[in-house]
Structure formats: C-alpha cells, structure tokens
Symmetry: D2
Amino acid sequence: MKAVVIHAAHDLRVEDRPAELAGPGQVEVAIEAGGICGSDLHYYHHGGFGTVRVREPMILGHEVAGTIKALGEGVSGLAIGDRVAVSPSRPCNACDYCLRGEQNHCLNMRFYGSAMPMPHIQGAFRQRLVAEAWQCHKVADGLSANEAAFAEPFAVTLHAVNRAGALLGKRVLVTGSGPIGALAIIAARAHGAVEIVATDVMDAVLVKAREVGADRTINVATHGEQLDAYSANKGYFDVHFEASGNERAVRSGLEVLRPRGVLVQLGLGGDVSIPQNMVVAKEIEMRGTFRFHEEFALAVDLINRRQVDVKPLLSGIYGLDQALTAFETAGDRSRSMKVQLSF
Amino acid sequence: MKAVVIHAAHDLRVEDRPAELAGPGQVEVAIEAGGICGSDLHYYHHGGFGTVRVREPMILGHEVAGTIKALGEGVSGLAIGDRVAVSPSRPCNACDYCLRGEQNHCLNMRFYGSAMPMPHIQGAFRQRLVAEAWQCHKVADGLSANEAAFAEPFAVTLHAVNRAGALLGKRVLVTGSGPIGALAIIAARAHGAVEIVATDVMDAVLVKAREVGADRTINVATHGEQLDAYSANKGYFDVHFEASGNERAVRSGLEVLRPRGVLVQLGLGGDVSIPQNMVVAKEIEMRGTFRFHEEFALAVDLINRRQVDVKPLLSGIYGLDQALTAFETAGDRSRSMKVQLSF
Amino acid sequence: MKAVVIHAAHDLRVEDRPAELAGPGQVEVAIEAGGICGSDLHYYHHGGFGTVRVREPMILGHEVAGTIKALGEGVSGLAIGDRVAVSPSRPCNACDYCLRGEQNHCLNMRFYGSAMPMPHIQGAFRQRLVAEAWQCHKVADGLSANEAAFAEPFAVTLHAVNRAGALLGKRVLVTGSGPIGALAIIAARAHGAVEIVATDVMDAVLVKAREVGADRTINVATHGEQLDAYSANKGYFDVHFEASGNERAVRSGLEVLRPRGVLVQLGLGGDVSIPQNMVVAKEIEMRGTFRFHEEFALAVDLINRRQVDVKPLLSGIYGLDQALTAFETAGDRSRSMKVQLSF
Amino acid sequence: MKAVVIHAAHDLRVEDRPAELAGPGQVEVAIEAGGICGSDLHYYHHGGFGTVRVREPMILGHEVAGTIKALGEGVSGLAIGDRVAVSPSRPCNACDYCLRGEQNHCLNMRFYGSAMPMPHIQGAFRQRLVAEAWQCHKVADGLSANEAAFAEPFAVTLHAVNRAGALLGKRVLVTGSGPIGALAIIAARAHGAVEIVATDVMDAVLVKAREVGADRTINVATHGEQLDAYSANKGYFDVHFEASGNERAVRSGLEVLRPRGVLVQLGLGGDVSIPQNMVVAKEIEMRGTFRFHEEFALAVDLINRRQVDVKPLLSGIYGLDQALTAFETAGDRSRSMKVQLSF
C-alpha cells in the first residue's frame, strides 16, 4: 500500500506501508480522492506551523473519500462497495470536553495527519485506510469521490457558520476567498445569509467566489476603497468570516462590521494587532472556530442532497506519481483552488 | 452656578456658568456627588483619548447624584426633595440602533461630558443640572448621594456581565482591579458567578478586590506564575473580564480561558497584539462592552435594595475648591479607588 | 375608489370610499394584488375570532402590492411607477416594546384590517392606498404583483423560523400545510433546515408541500402511524412548526420532538390541552410567534433575489366583482392554497 | 443494613437488606440524612405517577448525604471520614444525548429510586450506600448532613434557572412555593433576579417563601386579584417558574408574563389546558425543565460557600423507626416544607 509521507520540510515521499486489517467495528476503505489542505501545505513547505513540528515521518491528509473493501466484525449499516466520506476526527468521547458535546476540543483527539502529539497521528493519504465504521458516511449515488472528499473542509465552514449563530437575513463579509473562504460562502448561503461580499487579493480567486454564490467581490489589493465604503454609519455587515489569517483583513472587518457584529476567525496566522478601542466601542464579537464535530455528517448530507454544489472549487486532480506536482500546484493561489490526489 | 470645566490638558477650571430652567418634562437637580471616571482623567491628563480631543471648553463628569429642586411642566413620579441618580446617557430613541433596542450605539447619542461630537456634550460636574425626568432614578431612603453616584460605573459593569451571558456557576477572571474591575467583581457575583479570581499589579488595589468579593487575588507583577497555572488542560476560566486595557492581561486571559471561554473587553487601550492561532484553536470569544442602557435603572435598583455594597470602593471626597487635588488623587492608583467631588 | 368591507359575519360588500391624498412622507399606491388571509376569512365567516369582533364596517386585507401613483412631500428613494409590496405593520416606534426592538408587540400597533382596537384599523383591500413611504418595499423587475403580495405571509413564517433559532442541519416537522405551513417549509429551507416532514389531513395540500420543498409528507388523517414512528428514542425532530392550531397536531409534535426540541406555534386555535409531564420530562420549548418586524424587508428581498419561489402557492386570482367567490373559494382547503384579489 | 422500601401504594416498609462492598472506583457511604421528595410521596400515596407504577419492591430516596466509611480500589480525592452529598444521577456517558452534554436525557439513566425501568432502580434511603466516587461531592466543614441533603432538590432548581437563561435584573414569578418553589426563589436570586413574587394557596408556605427571599407573596386562593393586576400593558414578569403543576397557575402566569416572557415548567401534573392564542400573540416561551446534570456540583458548591442558605426550609427530621410518620407529615403542606429521614 502506498502512502504520502512527510519527513521534513520539502521532503515528501510516496512510500510503501504495510496494509492493516479491519478489526471489530472497523472497515477497510480504498481511498480514491484526497484533498490537499492548507495544513498539509504547511507541513510540506515549513515542516509544521507555530510550535507544531514534524518530528517523525507522518502520512499526510485528512480530506478523503473512497470505497469500502472489507468489513470488520459487528459492522452494520455499511456494506462492501459502499462509497464513503471518512471523517478524520476521532475524539475520545470520554474526556470532560467530549461529555459536554464539545468534541472538537477533546483532550485526547486523534485527528488524521497531525504532528501535534508524539507519536504523530498518521494521516489518510494512503491507498487503503482502516477506519472506525462511525467515521464513514455514505455518499449518494451519482456523486463522485472527488465531491465527497470536500466533506471535511466543508464541515469546517459549516462549523464556522454555526459559530456565527443564525444567519437568516444577515449581511456577510468573507475575507480570503481560497478554498475555505469559498466554502464559507456556500455554507453561509445554506444558512440563510441574504447578502455576501467576498474579498481577496487575486482576481482569479474572486471569479470562483462569485461562481459559488458571492453577490459581490472586491479585490482589496487594487480596490480597497470599495470595502472601506461599508464603514459608514458605524458599519454594514452583521457577520465577517475571516479566512485569510491576515492582520489587514481582520482590521478592515472590524471597520465595516456594524455594532455587535460578529467576526468569525477561520484563518490561522501568528500574532495580529487589533484596535482594542474599536472592539469595545462597537461591542464587536470575535469568535474563533476550530474544526467541526456533528457538521461532518451534515456536510455529507447537504452534498448528497445536492443542496450545495462544491464542484466549481475542484481545480486539479493528480495521481500518486505526481504527488509533488500536486503539492506545488496546490500552493499556487493564482492557479489553484482545491487540488486533490487520486489513489 | 459653579462647574468643573476642562479647557485643555492640565487646564481644569472651576467656573461660573449661567443657571438653566427646567423645561417641560425636565427637572432641576442640585448635584451633591460626582465620581471622577477614567475618561475624565484622560481629558485632564491628555486632553482626550485616541482621536477624541477637547476642542472647546467642556464641563466634565457623568457619575452624579443629587436632590431635585424644581420640576418642569408635566413631570410626574418625581417630587421636589427626591434624591436621584442621574443617567448621563441620552440616546435619540429614533435611529436604527435605538429602534433595535441597542441604544448604547445610538447614532445621535448625547452622553454627558463627551468631546466626541462638536459642539461637545457638556457634562454634569456642576451645582445645578437640568435633566430629563426619565434620566432621574430615585434613591432609597438612607442611602447617601455618594453611593448613588456609583450607579453609572456600576451600570457599565452590569452591562459587561450581561454581555457575558448567564454567569450562574461560572468561573470568572477579572484583570485590572481598579474601580471598573472591582465593580465587575460585584456585578459578576450578583449575576451568579461561583468563583472569582482578580489580578492587578498593585497590592493595595487587590485588598479592595477581596473586600468586594474576589475569592482569590493575584499580583501579576510579582506572582504571574500563579495565574499561569490555570492554563492546564486547555484552561480553567469560563469568562474573563478585562478591565486593564493592557495587552499582557489580554494575552494571559486567552491562555487561562477554557475552550469556548468568553473574554469581555472593558478596558480601553490602543492596539493590542493577540495570538490568532490560540483564539482559533480554543474557539475563544472576545466581546467588547460599551457603556449601558437599561442597566442604569438596574444599578440603582440593586444599590437601593442593598443587594450590593459599593461603599468600600469610595476612597475620597473633595469639595469643589479642591477639584485639582481630587483629579490628581484620582489618578494615583496606589492611593485611590473611586474619588468623588462634593458640590 | 372601491374597497372590500366587512360589516358582519357573511356580510362582505364592495363599496365606494373617498380617495385620500398622500401627505408628507407618504405615497399613494394603486393596489394590484391582495392575498386573502386566514384572519380575513375569520372576519368573513365568524365576524371575528376569540374576543375580537367586528363592531363597525372595516376594510379587510393586509397582504398587498401595487404601483406608486403619487408621492407626498419629502419622499425620497421611491418614484412614481415603482412597484412595491406594502407592509401592513405600523408600530409606534415610541413605546417600551418598540424601544426594545420588539415592534410586533407595540402597545399602539395599527395593523391593517384589525378589529382589535376601536375604532378599527381599516385594511388595504382597496384600489388606492395612502401609506407611509417606509411601508413600501420595491419589487424587482420581472416579478408580478401577485408574487410580491406574498411578502406579508412569507414574513410571518420568516419570523417564525427566526423564533426557532438557527436551523442549519436541523430536522423540521411542519403540521398544517396550508398557506402558512407551506411558506414555513420555504422559510425553514432558506434558514438551513436539512430535512422537512410536512403533515396535513388533505392530500391536495400535501402535493403543494412537496412542490415547495418538503422531503416527505404524511396525511395524518389516514397514515398517522407514519408520524408516530418518529417517537422512538425519545423523538426525532429538532423543531416543529405548528401551523394548524389543532390540539392533536400539537400533541403529536410533542411526541416526536427530541428532548430540548422546539415547538413554534403559528396556528391560532382556542384552548388546547397539552401533556405537562412530557413537556417537563423532555424539556420541550413551546414558543409562540406573532406577525413580524424586520422580516418584511427580508421577505421582499428573498423574493426579489429569487432565492425562494412562492408562485406554486397561488391558486386563484379573482376580480373585485368576484370578491364573494374569492372568499368562499379561499375557505375551501380542498381547492385552494392562496387566493388573491385583483383590483 | 436497613432500607426504606415501597411495595405498593401505602405499603412502605423498613426492611433489612444485605450490605454491599465498594468495588473499584466506588465508595461506601453511611447515609445520615435523606430528604423526602414529591416523587417519593407519589410512590407512597399512589404507587407511582402517570404510567410509571411500582411493579416490584423498591428502595425509595434520592436526596441523601452522609460520611464515607470505605474506599474501593483506585479512588482518589476522597478519604474515609469525608462527609459527602451523593448525586442520584447516573447517566451512561455513552449515548447520543450524553455525548451532546445532555446527560439528563440519557437513554440509559439509572436515577436512584425510579420505577420507570424494569427492574426498578433502587434508591438511597438506606443505612449504607455504595456509590461511584464521582457521585460524591465533599461537604464543607461546619455544614450539617441535613443541609447537604438539599443539594439534589436545589440542583433541580439551579437547572431550572439555567433553563431560563440569564436572570440578571429580571422580574420573576414563582407559582407554588413548596420545597421546589422555595428553592427556585433561592436559585433565581443567586442567578441575579431583581424582583421575585411568589404565590401559593397556603399562608404557612408563603411565610417561608418570604424568609428565603421572595420580595412579595400572594395567596392566590384568597387574593388572586393581586396577581391579576400584573397583566396591565401586556404583562409584567420576564420569567415564571411554575412549580405547582396546577393548570390555573400555568394560565395565570401566561396572563402576567410580558411578551417574549419565559415560563419554566417544573411542576408535574397531567394534561393542562392552555390558551393557544395568548401563547402566540405574546410570543410566550414555555420550557420544561427536568432534573439536572452539572448543577449538582454547583448546588454543593453554593451551599458550601454559604452563598445560599437552605436551612429555613427544613421542617422536620425523623428517625427510621418513624418513617411512616415522616411520609405522612411530608405530605401535609400546612405543616411541612422539607422533611428528612435520619439513618
């Protein structure tokens, strides 16, 4: 079985790994599609992010879908041949956070492809994956594995819109219109947003933002004044989904949010400087959003029912033999939205 | 009629001003007590804060109580001789924010002693104040005007605890234990907080914090490690009231808040740098809180019913002839908590 | 100018009324479409509902749209020839409820066609209506006045889904699939509901429910056991929109709601008997929902943007000379969903 | 070991039962105080309630406190001699409800002294109780076991006030001022309620209500018009805690709640008839509240810290040899508030 393994920054290898057998309650999945995520790219380009570093070889990947090839003992509700999206989130369901329904903060989380704990949690970019049955969500007939592999990043944005509270009739700003920003547009619309303005610094990205539902896009590198105009009368937007991790985007959002507006922070960066007086005087709420829990099932459900369409965001599919090219391409925002591997 | 007027930084004068007559729906109040607030001190020391500058002589003051001396036409429910706390907040009740019940964000707010608009809104440090009847809240028998003059800053902290949501059973951190931090301790307890830890950099201040209800105090200048210990298992506190405006206090709070914890920002500072990744990974909520609306009536009510005791925070009373001394003393945290003027 | 006037139960007349002139801030609208609502039918069939009785002749109607014919002094943002939906809701914007943003509970509400106060509030089933400019919301090009006249009942259901809180990913039951129930289906979907089951006692109505988005329909007169099956494991639905006013529908909803589920009561009936122990043991929330406020603008906006399609619910259009037939037909659920008058 | 066992209605026996040994993670507690609850009285008087019937002998009781006599293997944080309140709530922590943090709706709950499942869950009115260590909460020095045994019913009311949302500054009505109503008064005050009006049909009970914090009491059997007066201007109270289970109390609360007021239903009755139109027109929220989860620890904490005082509600203590007298007395509201057994 081949797997995509990171050894260090810029040292990505496709290696053979021993196959595993499905134990009780588990299934064996032939992975067919795997989306490359920003965190995968961080491992590839920088060997980690923040204080998290790759300290031993680790299989990357956590956005995967495939077909069930074998069932362990006692598995019901799934059958060989079923096509499934596999959730990378494996909370312990026993710690204090899990027993409050806050599984995304599990103290013992084993999320695929994470170098946070040691030993690292091996990821899902591999030809065969043995997973718990409850991680596997059936994909509707006629849907491609490629679409199904969007379930994970879409779940991230569904969690983000849940964090924002009810969006019905709300005016929404999305800053950073890469894969997560674009999926946030789809999620915000599904949650009832009535008007969505998206920004980025690249026109190619903004074309996609409009294609998936933004009512208006602004290239803030060239037309920042168009965004500034929304600051009249203390601000215009009810909710800001910040998906760039960029300090300038955070600060501009604070300017154009109306009093008691909510800034949901999706993008990861380092330290950012914020104008405390404005947060106070406008009573802004800044809320972090991290991964997801029940939203994975919802993501698959919405994709299955075709209530949303994620296909426009798939910009390239590469075979395992082109894994390096896939990672290089995925990192080039001018050409790529979501790049997937084919196994 | 004498009034306390700021002309420029360090140019504070007690001046004669013409008396006014109570019009329809108004009352004339003989002001007896006026608390000096941090914003008064900013005008005195710096001539303003941020972009707000004193551009014409302005009467300071917005924490006042006194006795009604005359009633305008059509006033009911108040009588000459009634002792009242006077709310400095005068929203227009007609703009979009007011008609959503968000009067503290009124586009046409006329808050006493504010240099934000031009002409400035004159304040309430004067011997006679003509106010709308609805600004005046009756004080219970046996309560001093000095206690009643705490209604305004206490209302600020009641609004802050409302912004935090239900506090019943919550663990609360208060950073910055000056007048606002100390009143936040009282407000948090009144709202059901079960455990309150307060910090400051001065021991004298922390003595008061314990006196008004903090279960534990930490001098973070000398014993910061005691606070750090609360960061185990992703954090301990449910809510953090940040009343110092200090970047270090903000950052330490993010460390010791549990996932989905809420940081309510009361203190005003300039730009502060925050660790975006931690806000995201712990799904922290940072919420600004600004002034108050219906909480003024609640503040008077709670003081009237003696459900709270603000007296320990009154550290000095000065006559008008000692106004300069009062302002100098109020600015010295080692000696003063709340300093009031007597008219 | 002709108007549709109720004098007493079954005494509906098309009468001449003097035309009015648009005063300052007002506009004159030539009404083109007017939807007959359940409350109009109550006045027609029973002369009122509950303790509300028709005590003087009253023009009926509050679901109207038309074209602006004249502008009063000082009106901006509207022009002669604009096609508009007219909100029937005229709160005072000065009472305690209005100043909390709860305008639908205004103590001085003047809602079109209401016999609650005396003199009654005259309605909008008339050829010319003088309204405040702020009541008028522009209709997008290409949209019919008939679609625009759905703004009012759609706003009622948008308010209902707002009352339910965020619906993203929620399982929804709608009981009573007449015009309000059907619009609730549309509104719940727009607010993110992932699965919608609708019930009624007439198959003809359920066909429409599926047409506007119900995933499944159940005729509870003939197949009640299909609904009962959802009570396993303490219940299935997160939210129940009760639009029938029928006691049996309320009670069946309590059975199939999951613990902490929310029952939003839209339908009006008299006294209903509920099983208190079940409300307690499952911690059900029953919430009334009444009219709307900011949701009127949202309704027009969603119709204008074609994010929703209300056309399937229009089952008949009658001229003024057929007003009696229109009212008789509107009351026959086997044949009619929404019946409108044409002026 | 002696235990208090119900065999059928009016067939209560003090019987010998074999002692148990503390297994791993468990402790053996010598029970010292056990409060008689309304559900115990239902088993005694009626052999059950609703469809729940005693079908085999069952030890009653779930409000208990005592002293640890032995520790099972692996228990830490507790020592022999510790005095503890024992939570009767034992959720499975594995079902869907538990993993959402809704343990009080656990599908496999084993709550002491419940005839709901078969075999019945044996209760805690026994001289020695073997419990899980996590059920045991240490009692502060100087506090009696009798006070500690209030933790359970107090937790019920703390959960009820949590269900109501933030109470700071709210006006509260409590109907039914027996043990649960009286504890709801204490809990509402601890949660910030500013004004509490309590009702009952017996003056003796209302004396206690005032003693524990009600601002005003109304005997609705003799002075119902005093309550009716609160219905002016659409109503007065923000929150109504209904602890009587009585239909008249529910209906009167709907009259005097303000629009969007919340009725929290604590009391258990059978079917009650409610005016649907009023629930709709005032947008009332009726919320059931059932048992508790994390509030048990909070109850012990608040009692330990002496932030609340439950002692005034203890009206009698009876030895095991007087168990029948205790049950008879507990059922007589004219003489008893909370009656406890001594073991």
